[in-house]
Symmetry: C2
DNA sequence: TAAATACGTAACTATAACGGTTACATATTG
DNA sequence: CAATATGTAACCGTTATAGTTACGTATTTA
């Protein structure tokens, strides 16, 4: 369980919701597709709501709806919504400041890591939930 | 401790070794710069050796040496050597195959994630350990 | 207005990865 | 043979995660 599966599940959820954008979808139903517990789904939907991507309604005929068109939600948006940290992590303990490399390596790596992360993020910003729906549709024919 | 710091430490180690490519460097000394235990350093160096980037010699006047010039080691090489997994992780449990989305989402996401990861990896392949040494040098002036 | 429904979230648990540490065997040098 | 340095197993505390139960709150509808 090294890396969270939240991002993957979030994309699964949104793709599922986008296949029927008009009717509210219930966490219990989504959990059936993802094959997990409804609470896990609601936790992730909570983050998506905080990011303004979905909204919820309690009670009978309640459930979840997209706030934006599936074609306006990029995979980068969803990644930000999950607040997944950087795929890179700095040292546990601060390096030795008495060593030239130790004193400057984190600044240098911060720069390099930021650049690499941006390359990944930019790539993700070029795909949308609507594209995932289409890919699933293509795969099922 | 969400993501491993191995990659960061590996880059630190190689940058340090590259500042004096000629003499063997001892894990104890490296640990002093990284500010951790020598065993942690040796574990990471072991992975770098498996990847053919460094070699070791036990005993008096022993230690570690680069196998290649610092300008021939890219940050992508080091990432591969650490065997860091993908920054993306699929579902814990297999999704419901009775659902169209559940049946196809992993294949679709595998494709999308692979593309994003490649963007990051390509970016990392354009920097070398020699460049890190230079950046540290620049920062210390 | 009462029953049914569905979200919201706290609390607890098992699992796994990680970093740190000790200990000791092995290899090399001089 | 003594000193040194790697190689690696074993163990521990910390942390994140996913799963689960439980229960309060909001909303609909009969």
């Amino acid at each position: 369980m090294n890396v969270s599966t939240r991002y993957t599940v979030a994309l699964h959820i949104l793709t599922l919701m986008a296949t029927d954008e008009t009717h509210p979808m219930v966490s219990e139903f989504i959990a059936g597709s993802v094959n997990t517990n409804p609470v896990v789904i609601r936790r992730i939907l909570g983050r998506l709501r905080t990011a303004g991507l979905v909204k919820s309604h309690p009670g009978v005929n309640g459930g979840w709806l997209l706030c934006k068109s599936a074609s306006d939600i990029t995979l980068a948006d969803v990644r930000l919504a999950m607040e997944e940290g950087s795929p890179f992590t700095m040292h546990t303990n601060a390096p030795n400041p008495a060593c030239t490399v130790g004193r400057h390596i984190q600044g240098v790596l911060g720069h390099v890591f930021g650049h690499a992360e941006r390359a990944m993020h930019d790539d993700l910003s070029r795909s949308t939930i609507a594209a995932l729906v289409q890919s699933v549709k293509d795969a099922s024919r």
